[in-house]
Amino acid sequence: MPINNNHFYMKHGVRQMVTDLSWKVGGEQGEGIESTGEIFSLSLFRLGYHVSTYRHFMSLIKGGHTNYKVRVTSDERSHHGDDLHILIAFDQMTIDYNFHELSDGAVLIYDAAIKNATVPEGKNVHAIAIPLTAIAKESGSPIMKNMVAIGAIAAVLRLKPADFQSYLEDKFSSKGTSIVESNMVAMQRGFDFYMENNPVHLELPPRPAKIDHNRLFISGNQATSLGAIAAGCRVNAQYPITPATEVMYGFVKYFPQLGGAVVQVEDEIAAVNFVIGASYAGSRAITATSGPGVSLMLEAIGLAGISETGIVIVDVQRSGPSTGLPTKTEQSDVNSNMYGSHGEIPRIVLTPRNVSECFYFTAEAFNLAEKYQCPVIVATDLYMGMNSQTISGLDLSRVHHERGKLVTDEYLASLEKGEFHRFADVEDGISPRALPGQKNGRHVAMGNEHDEVGLEIEDQAMRIQQMNKRARKLKNFKGIEGAAYTGPENPEVLVVGFGSTVGVIDEAVAKLKGEGVNVGHLQVARLLPFPTEEIAPLLNKARKVVVTEINSTGQLAQQIKQYVGGHDKIENCLKYDGDPFTVKEIFNRIKEVI
C-alpha cells in the first residue's frame, strides 16, 4: 500500500483548505471507549475547536461493538460528518465495522495486540499497528491503552500530550496526582512511539483565533435538564430509560444545591401522574422518557389536557417500535406525540433542532405549559440527546418566567365562596387558575367533563362550552416558532426536516446549492400547533418538497399532507436503520427525486 502523506487534502491535485477532521475510537463495550472519546473531544474543544460527536453503542453492557466519533471543525456544526480521517481500533471488530467509513488517506491505528489483525485492501489508508496494550502495561496498567492511543493521536495531529492534560486533571485529580501522572506517562509513550515509528501526519482545521469562553461542550440531554432548571423546575419524577435517563442525572446533580426533589418512581405512569400532581400544586415539574414511556403516559396526557394542568414531558426518541433498537436514534414518535391518547385535547409538541434549543425550548415549555394549561411534549432524540457538541453558551438571561393566568390572593378574596370559576368559559380559552393554598380558590381538577367550577357534568351545553373553550386556547398560540427557513425566496426544491436533522440537512443542501440546485431548507421546530402557515407558502412555491426524517413511514410528510396538502409534490427521504443520516444519503436521495 503506497503511503501518500496528507493525500486526503488533495482534490484534483489542489491542496484544499482543511475544514474538518473526523476521528473515531472503537472497541468492545466496557473497554473505556467512552472515556477515550471524551478525552479527545473535550481536549479539542478546549483548544478552541468546534466538536460534534457521535457514540455508537449497543443494548448490552459488555462485549459488542461500541465506538465514539468526533468531528473537529473551525465553525459550528451539529452533525458528526460523513468523513472519517482517523480510526483507533482496539479490536478487529472495530476495523471490520468501520473501515468502509474511512476517507482516502486516513490513518488507522490499531492495537498490535489484536491477534491476526486484518485490514481490508483497496483503500488508501495508513494502517498502523501500535502496541497500545503493551505500552500501557509497561506504563502500569493495560487499561491505560486509551491514553497510549491518545498520545499517538496527538502525534498524528502535531499536538502535544500536554494538550490533553487538563482533561486528565479534571477527571482524575480527586483520585490523586499519581493517577494523573501515570496516565500522562502512558500518553507520552504513545506519542513518542508514534513519532519514532510513523511519519504520517494529518492536519487539523485552522484553530479559531479567538476562543469564546462561553462555549460549552454539552449534550442535548444535559442541556434539557439545564433548561428545566433555568425555568424554575424543581420537581422531577422519572423512571429510567435509555436514552432519557441522563436528563434525570442533571436533576440528581443540581437539585440538591437548588432545593428540588428528584423521585425515581416505580414506572412511567406514576411519573406522569406525579408531574400532574406537582404541576397542579403549582410547582414546575418534569418527566423525561422515551417512546415506551410515552406510550404508557398517554392516558394521563389526556388527563392533563382536560384538567387543564400544564405539564412538561420530554421524549428522547429512540428506534421503535416497542423495545426496538433501544440504543439507536429515530424520529418515529411524531404520531404518538401528536395523536396518542384517546379523545381530543389541545397539546403542544416542540422539536428542538439542536443542543442549544434543547435548553431554550425546554425552558420555554414551562411557560407554555402554564400559559396554555395543557401538556407540552418536548421531543428530542437519542442522537441529539446523548451526543455532546460545542454550542455557543446557554444564556440564563434569555430565560424568563411566565405563569399565565394565575390569580392573586386579593382577587380571590374579592369573591364569594364558590364563586371562583377555575374553568370559566373565557374568550381566549384560557381560564384563571388558583393554586392549592390560596384561600377561596377551591376547585376540582378532573378527568371527567366538568362545569366551570370543575364538577362532573353530563349536560350537553356545558360539555360543548368546555370542549370549545379548550379547543380555542391554542388558536392564538405564541411561543416557539414553527419552523425556520434558509434559502432562496422562490425555492424550486424545498427540503423539510424537523428536530435534530437540521445540521446534516444543511450540509446536504449546501452541496446541492454548490451544484446549482435552487433549493431551500425548512426545519420544523414545532409539531403542534402545526406550523401550517410557515410551510404552506414555501410548499406552494416549490416544485418538489423532500421531507427528510428518521423514520420509515414519513410521519412528518403525512402531517404536511394533512395540514397543508401538496400530495403530488411531496417526496420522502427516510432512514430507519437506527443511525442518523449521513450528508450523502440526503444529498443522493434529493438528487434522485428532484
Partner: protein, 286 residues
C-alpha cells in the same frame, strides 16, 4: 377556624345508604378537628363511586385517573409539603389497577393519608368482582363466584413497612374520624381501609353483615399495635374484620430522608438562579 360547612361542596350523588357518605362526613369532621382550612387540603381521588369524594369534599380536589390517585397525590405533596394531602378511592382503584403505586408509596413513605372505600365490588361500573371480593362472591363477571385469593391490603401495607395501618367502617363514624385524624397526624404514608358498604351491588357484605363480624381493636386487651407479627396475626385470625389502628411505626418519611429536600414548599421556591451558581454549573461543560 373552619367548620364542617366549609368542607361541604355540592350535594353528594351516591346511592342513598352508600357507605361513602360516612367516609365523606368523617373526612370533614377530621379536617375540622385538626383545625385545617379548605385551602390547606387537597383531596385526590381515583375513578369509581368512591372517586367522587374529591368533588363532594369542600377543599381543593383532584379527581384523577382510575388507579392513579396515589402518584398524583404524592406529586401534590412533594411540590407543596405544607398541604394536607389525602389520596382516596375504591378497592378496585387502589388494590386492583393501582396496587403497584400503593405498595411503592408505602415503601417510599410519602407523607399522605390514603383512604380506601372498600366495598368488595366495582360500584361505578355496576357490579363486577373486585380484588377484595371474597372467594365465592358472585358478580356479573363471576356469576359462579370469585376464585382468586383476595388482596390483603392491611397485610401488604404492614409487610412493606407502612407506619400507620388502620381499618374503619362506615357504620362507625366516630372511630373513622379518629382514624383519619390519626392518619393526618402521622408523618409518613398512612392507610385507612374503610369497609364502606355498597348497598346496590354488594348484597353480602352489608351493614348487617359487618355489624355481626366487626370488632374494635380497642376491645382487645393488651394489644400492642407496634408488634408487626401480632398485627398480622390478629388481622388474619379476625378475617380482617378488626377495626381501629392496627399497626404503627415511626419510620422516617420520604421528605425526611430525601437528599436535601428543602424545608419550605417547593411551590414557594425562588426560581432565579444566582449568576455565580449558573456559571459554576456551566463550567462543568467546558
Amino acid at each position: 377556624m373552619a367548620t364542617i360547612a366549609d368542607f361541604r361542596a355540592e350535594k353528594a350523588t351516591w346511592c342513598p345508604g352508600c357507605g361513602d357518605y360516612t367516609v365523606l362526613a368523617a373526612l370533614q369532621k377530621a379536617a375540622v378537628n385538626r383545625g385545617l382550612e379548605p385551602e390547606d387540603m387537597v383531596v385526590v381521588s381515583g375513578v369509581g363511586c368512591s372517586g367522587k369524594i374529591s368533588q363532594h369534599f369542600g377543599s381543593y380536589g383532584f379527581h384523577s385517573l382510575h388507579g392513579r390517585s396515589i402518584p398524583t397525590a404524592q406529586g401534590v405533596k412533594i411540590a407543596n409539603r405544607d398541604l394536607t394531602v389525602v389520596a382516596s378511592g375504591g378497592d378496585g382503584d387502589g388494590y386492583g389497577i393501582g396496587l403497584g403505586h400503593f405498595i411503592h408509596a408505602v415503601r417510599r413513605n410519602t407523607d399522605i393519608t390514603y383512604i380506601v372505600m372498600d366495598n368488595h365490588i366495582y360500584g361505578l361500573t355496576t357490579g363486577q368482582t373486585s380484588p377484595t371480593s371474597d372467594p365465592g362472591f358472585k358478580t356479573k363477571t363471576a356469576p359462579a363466584g370469585a376464585v382468586e385469593e383476595p388482596i390483603h391490603p392491611l397485610h401488604l401495607a404492614i409487610i412493606q413497612g407502612c407506619g400507620y395501618v388502620a381499618q374503619g367502617y362506615s357504620g362507625n363514624l366516630g372511630q373513622l374520624v379518629e382514624l383519619i385524624e390519626g392518619g393526618m397526624e402521622h408523618k409518613g404514608f398512612s392507610l385507612i381501609n374503610v369497609y364502606s358498604p355498597c348497598v346496590t351491588y354488594n348484597k353480602v357484605n352489608t351493614y348487617d353483615w359487618y355489624k355481626q363480624g366487626i370488632k374494635d381493636v380497642k376491645q382487645i386487651e393488651g394489644y400492642d399495635n407496634t408488634d408487626k407479627y401480632a398485627a398480622l396475626k390478629l388481622i388474619e385470625e379476625s378475617e380482617e374484620l378488626t377495626t381501629g389502628l392496627l399497626y404503627k411505626n415511626d419510620r422516617p418519611s420520604f421528605d425526611q430522608t430525601l437528599y436535601k429536600y428543602p424545608d419550605a414548599p417547593i411551590t414557594s421556591s425562588d426560581w432565579t438562579i444566582n449568576p455565580d451558581t449558573w456559571n459554576k454549573i456551566l463550567d462543568q461543560y467546558k
